[in-house]
Symmetry: C2
Subunit: 198 residues, 2 copies
């Protein structure tokens, strides 16, 4: 028999883990952020493109730059969270393929450099995959997450990525969640609503 993840592991990363809307004051250390990254970076991406870029906001001053871009419902919890991560993607990710990420076939760069629409789709798709690995990895190292799409991407990009190379994707609060603020679990689609067997 092949190994499988035990019940405690499945619970931790997906089954009983919950999106958090309030945060305890327990701090998150830089070592924990590095631990998240060192785990998430190992997840698969197309041609090892690894387009995700992450900005960790750890101080009230850094958070203050983000708050004007947030939908009102996301302001308080973001102020409260020990860390807010901006998950973005590098639109020029392909420039790192020949030198580091895909050095055995440096011509792979040109597939993206010569096709901006394909490059943009690749960055968004694989940056999103890495965003999911980020949330799973954070839970794996014992932290809670709360992803957020309710914000103005253009405002975040202007403030944090003014040269235009990186584009924001979504935000994710990180810390120790306040169990009292967790909302009821919403229903998911049944297998037959989401899947087809051919």
């Amino acid at each position: 028999m092949r190994p499988t993840l035990d019940d405690a592991g499945k619970d931790l990363i997906l089954r009983t883990a919950r999106t958090q809307n309030g945060w305890l004051p327990t701090p998150v250390t830089d070592d924990q952020l590095r631990e998240i990254y060192d785990l998430m970076k190992l997840g698969p991406t197309s041609a090892n493109t690894c387009p995700a870029r992450i900005v960790f906001l750890r101080t009230p001053e850094a958070k203050a730059r983000l708050l004007p871009a947030l939908n009102p419902g996301n302001v308080e919890k973001t102020k409260q969270a020990p860390v807010t991560a901006i998950i973005g993607h590098d639109t020029l990710f392909y420039d790192l393929l020949p030198t580091k990420l895909f050095a055995h076939r440096p011509e792979m760069r040109d597939n993206f450099a010569n096709n901006p629409a394909f490059a943009a789709t690749t960055a968004f798709r694989n940056g999103s995959l890495q965003g999911a690995y980020f949330m799973i990895a954070a839970r794996a190292v014992g932290l809670d997450v709360g992803g957020m799409s309710g914000f103005d991407n253009a405002k975040v990009d202007a403030e944090f990525f003014p040269d235009g190379r990186v584009k924001s994707n979504f935000l994710c609060n990180v810390g120790h969640g306040d169990p009292a603020k967790v909302l009821p679990k919403l229903p998911r689609l049944d297998f037959d609503e989401a899947c087809t067997l051919l």
Copy 2:
């Protein structure tokens, strides 16, 4: 101390797990596919939109419909894999919010229905997050995966989603990988190359 995932669990889902390029003949059961879905469906999506739709190709006949859309390098391994999953997303995902996914605030549907560009971005981002949960969940239940972006999305959509409602995102072979066909692990970006601490 909060629980964390143990080393065996981290290895299984991310650290030592590898993208597979060849497959052993060990079959994958429908029960295993349901087990994958029942785990992946619990991952977070924006406003519980759950846009991912999955078509599992389990037979040579079903695979034959996919092969003409594949880049040449993906044909043999896809023929060999016990199951190939087409990960797509429902462009009209928001029609399920009032009736099932977000019934406590049915007006959420209109945020998407009235803004097609926002809906398309939401479907692609969250369908990709769910694609990552799919790969993690498959590994968690003891299977290997091999994601693929090297195919013609328009051809796949015409063949499998002719009414245009679902759009293909990426493909993923599922089964028991052939260790002899695993490629050397490619380098990842260091923390300081991908992350910024503010």
